[in-house]
Amino acid sequence: MIEFHAVTNRFPDGTLAVDDFSLVLPSYKTTVFVGTSGSGKTTLLRMINRMVDPTSGSIDIDGADIGTLEPVKLRRGIGYVMQNSGLLPHRKVIDNVATVPMLRGMPKKRAREEALQLLDTVGLDRSLANRYPSQLSGGQQQRVGVARGLAVNPNILLMDEPFGAVDPIVRAELQQELLRLQRELGKTVVFVTHDIDEAFLLGDQVVILRTGGKVAQVGSPAEILANPIDEFVATFVGADRGKRSLHVENHGDGDIVVDETGRLAGVLVGSSTTSSRASAASQSGSESQCGSESKAGPRGPGASAQGGDSR
């Protein structure tokens, strides 16, 4: 369990990054900080492994004030995954994963054996072990980043916009992988993103932040969506634009779910049409309705589970 107690962080130039932030992040759950740039979400994340220290207030992990712990030792016990994977470009994949266990004194041979197992865990072929990061695709690099984060078998996994730099299809794949890993491993995950759909998909607890590190709303995705506390949250989750208000249109071949702006959101499953015909219809439907602007078409069937798509 991670507890923020009245945490404030002020940059040297005086701007407030985080303002009087108090929150409990429950163990074995995923908490997502979501907000625009300048909302202090990355600062909040980095205060958990003391890459940034609060100006005032304190943070406890399992009841211990981390301000009293040695930062390097603390970090070696917490998984950390960042955007663009942050892998060491001069080390092979396997050595990137084995890095932190070796820093903690694990013999090289054992660290490498465990690294190979971790590649299996994150769904990477072992044949990639001896490549350099630049020889992998963005999605593969990100998987290695996750494997490295898991290498010390931490209770806490910090993820700073880890899927921000990969294309939408790979991102959706990585998100599903993370959900699978979370079901299997049950870590306390703290995830930072600016993508509200990602936040709602991954988060057990979602924290919406406004500029200057102020909390706009905290709750489960369902709570926030059903009951946005104010205009800002409503705008942020897209409820005001009708993006979350869906209705069904019949296109002859099948029932298509459309939001209020006319953007295609998905297909109605369980209707009489076969899924392949429905998905073909959804693509032609998107063309007729939204022209080339809509990128939602090919992703329609997948997005239907979430009931919306922001892109």
Partner: protein, 228 residues
Amino acid sequence: MTWIWSNMDLIWDRTLDHLVLSVPSIILSFVIALPFGWLAHRYRASRAVILTTVGLLYAIPSLPLFIVLPFIVGTSIRSPLNLIIALTLYGVALMVRVVADGLGSVDRDVQQSATGVGFSGWTVFWQVELPLAGPVLLAGLRVVAVSTVSLATVGAVIGAQSLGSLFTDGIQRGIQEEIIAGIVATVLLALVLDAALVLFGRLLMPWTRRSAIGVAARNSAVVAGVTT
């Protein structure tokens, strides 16, 4: 050509003399430039002072330096040590800026993530920043190596033996072949040292050549994927 064939021993000896002067100078330049370059990279205040000072150092003409140096450090004027010190000074002058720039070229994200996963301050420097600055450092070291080899010949004017002695001797005695042999041998030596550094770099930094190919291949694949 007859002069060259009958004096191969002499040319070989001068080549060895030349190596004794230049190799230690190149190594020392690198080792000494490292902390100064780090200081210039790390602290804004020291950057201007250090870089200006080493810049001025390079502006000192070589011949006067060879002559003045023995009075400062107490070596004999013809001692190889005298020359090694002078050549090292010039090498440092070139290399400090390269070290500062090389460390500055390291991706901030990589440093941040290294810190984030638990590298301590000095392990970040030795295991992350320094190796990643490697390609820039190597490029600088190649310039230092070639310039040191060519500067070392000037020592011949004050009587320190090197391949430069072949020019001075050849001019005094009017042996054109000796002059040409001196020039060609100096160029060859510079090329050999340069090639050795490149080879050394490849052994030490295997990720640089592989990634170059990998990235190019992937980029073109991405472009192809986008356009189709």
